[in-house]
Symmetry: C2
Subunit: 397 residues, 2 copies
DNA sequence: GACGCTTTATTTAGTCGCAAACTATCTGCA
DNA sequence: TGCAGATAGTTTGCGACTAAATAAAGCGTC
């Protein structure tokens, strides 16, 4: 833990990143947001202005003092590519620095195939080559544990990957910085840059969908755990025995309210045999059974998240994931359960639902790259430094 | 989040603290332990040597290179006072920088009394005045939530305290730095300096006793949560309904395996009416019922801690608390349950039992002060800076 | 016992970012 | 009109720490 971490030009990158993700800001605003002194911002921006990376825009009307002169990025051509890997496809998005999606695609993918990593590399190389503008890097979201964003060695049972050297393989194939991270954590990072992280330093991002996951952000930094496995709330033990879970345990949260569990329950209760979408449709059409099933799941989620809140005491909990589209039915059970299982002093802990669309996973992966200018903890490693270097070098390519 | 936090002379304090808590070290060792460059250590130690705060000791035989010259503290007269406040007494210890106890005492205390804070201040003032050597500060451990170590405003239902301004009151009464912290967190900090924290950056300290608690240390820093309430695992919801808990909820972990719950179960099962010590005695004497009761508690603790491990992915879990004296009986249920509820990839997470004696709570509180030279996060606030200042000023008083 | 290797400690030159003092420019109020 | 107060931005000098080069002092080995 270096007192002053060896980080090449972190603040300039952070300035560029902030201007890119938040739009034009005054110097004073930059200083406040980044927690550095105004003096430093003056120095940094002076250099960036001289190098034409930043331009002085308009002057905003005063609020009882000298008017602020806003700064903006000289070039808005910066962007990143995000990829989300699942058991049957890869979703790709091209994202600009401000978070806007400039293109997206979905590709069939078989992670069990002999040269799956090579196939992934090919997919991504095409995307890199077709990228319009100056590419800062590629972010990859994986449903599994990643030892570090930097090395990107992956343990992902659902993909059949063990000790897969995803980061290394892609890096050498693509020639641009590649950051690999657990998929839920990418969403947490995205919230840091574009969502709740603007107003809160410590929060949880819980996802409901195929699995149940949780990203932990503490004081603005993603907490990954000792071995990159923090936030595995899908396997919180909810009962001593209970249904068998894919992880080998019994009574895991996911074995109760994961997508597969809900689909099985829907079958057993005679609601539908056609999967989760049909179940939601049934609820939409007024099926009391379907609604009850979601409400029960919501209640259990509430109980589990109450426990996590007791453990971590976050400022706010964000709920996300593909399952969130049925949230109105989950909430019926969740709201009461969550409050009831919280101790009185925590009962005020707010939760928020973010909007969802299919791109969001991949978008989160791209956010990994776009957030790396803000990384003060070194979590992004060498690849993060490379991203900052490219940002620093300017859109010359 | 300042990139370079405003901290007055942090490294010199850390050097002194490290020499005090770990004994003589070479410069190279100091550099490695503190994560600073050898150059810095040379500069710092040069200054400290010049001011006679540090002395050069012997030269240790080489291991294939230039022999290391070890440095030690010139004065070992530094110490701190630790206080643990409970519902019926206050335990005090005087502790030297190296963690050795130089004196201890226990005083009756009624936190519900009208001027309880004043009474506490009187107790502590006597201790401060009678302290032998140079006092760095006073640490106070409280069974409740503390907003920050610095301000020390306390929310402690078990003491009947709400918004009690403990820190402020004691500070003005004592005239030395006062750090206030949740009691479990003080143990976590003590482990950081004297225990498992020497070898591990991220760990949990779980306590069993009157309550069930947990301290969270992440990358060497105590994680306190957004409102100082992290680690309240005593109120993890273990079931949808279940026994009523003092917190107002139902089915909390503590309502199953806290001291009061165990004592009630012992009564109901006809094992003993005489409290927890009698229960352990019964187990010692071979009572199968008593042993089963502990084993059941252990099993539930294992399940709960497995969940916490899934959430936080620590390197190691340390078990502590006054209840740990009966650990041999807990363990029967704990070991299997903990492993069984962990997912395969976490099943290797080790747990350790620390020895226990009654001073340990107060000792933890003292460690709060003795660890403040290592605080890089600013968690100790102004009071921490004051401690560092006193350390820096030398044992002149 | 000369050479290479390892580890420890120091020196030097330089970077990063801060605090403090300052200037600049506006609002509001008497 | 003029001054207090607020907010924005700049300049200057400095403290803390680093990286890189160097010196110091031992070990092993042929």
């Amino acid at each position: 833990m270096p007192a002053q971490p060896a980080r090449g030009d972190l603040v300039p990158s952070a300035v560029l990143g902030l201007l890119g993700t938040r739009g034009p800001l005054s110097r004073a605003e930059l200083a406040r947001q980044l927690g550095v002194s105004p003096a430093t911002v003056t120095q940094i921006t002076k250099a960036l202005l001289a190098r034409d990376l930043v331009v002085e825009l308009d002057q905003v009307p005063s609020h009882g003092g000298r008017p602020a002169r806003r700064l903006g990025l000289a070039s808005t051509g910066w962007g990143a590519i995000g990829a989300k890997v699942t058991a049957d496809h890869v979703a790709l998005v091209h994202v600009a620095l401000d978070g806007s999606v400039t293109g997206s695609s979905v590709h069939a993918f078989d992670p069990d195939a002999p040269h799956a990593l090579d196939a992934l590399a090919v997919l991504l190389r095409d995307a890199v080559e077709s990228h319009d503008g100056h590419l800062l890097g590629v972010g990859v979201g994986i449903p599994g544990a990643v030892d570090s964003q930097d090395s990107g060695t992956v343990e992902a049972p659902t993909l059949g990957w063990s000790e897969a050297r995803v980061g290394r393989a892609l890096r050498s194939a693509l020639g641009v910085p590649v950051l690999v991270e657990n998929d839920v954590n990418t969403l947490a990072v995205a919230e840091r840059v574009y969502g709740v992280g603007r107003d809160h330093g410590s929060y949880l991002v819980a996802t409901i969908g195929r699995g149940i996951g949780c990203g932990v952000v503490i004081d603005g930094a993603l907490y990954r755990g000792a071995y990159g496995g923090a936030g595995e709330i899908g396997h919180l033990p909810m009962s001593v025995d209970g249904p068998a879970c894919a992880c080998g345990g019994q009574g895991c949260l996911e074995a109760y309210i994961g997508q597969a569990a809900l689909e099985r329950a829907a079958r057993e209760r005679g609601i539908t045999d056609d999967g989760i979408d049909a179940l939601r449709l049934a609820a939409d059409q007024g099926s009391a059974d379907a609604r009850a099933l979601f409400a029960e799941a919501g209640a259990m989620l509430g109980q589990a998240l109450a426990g996590v809140v007791h453990t971590l005491d976050p400022e706010v909990v964000v709920l996300l994931g593909e399952g969130i589209t049925a949230w109105q039915y989950w909430e019926v059970g969740f709201a009461a359960s969550f409050r009831r299982h919280l101790m009185p002093s925590r009962r005020g802990t707010p939760y928020r639902i973010d909007s969802w669309d299919e791109d969001k996973w991949a978008l989160g992966a791209a956010a990994l790259v776009l957030a790396s200018p803000f990384d003060q903890t070194g979590a992004t490693g060498d690849q993060g430094s490379l991203v900052r270097e490219r940002l620093h070098a300017g859109p010359s390519a």
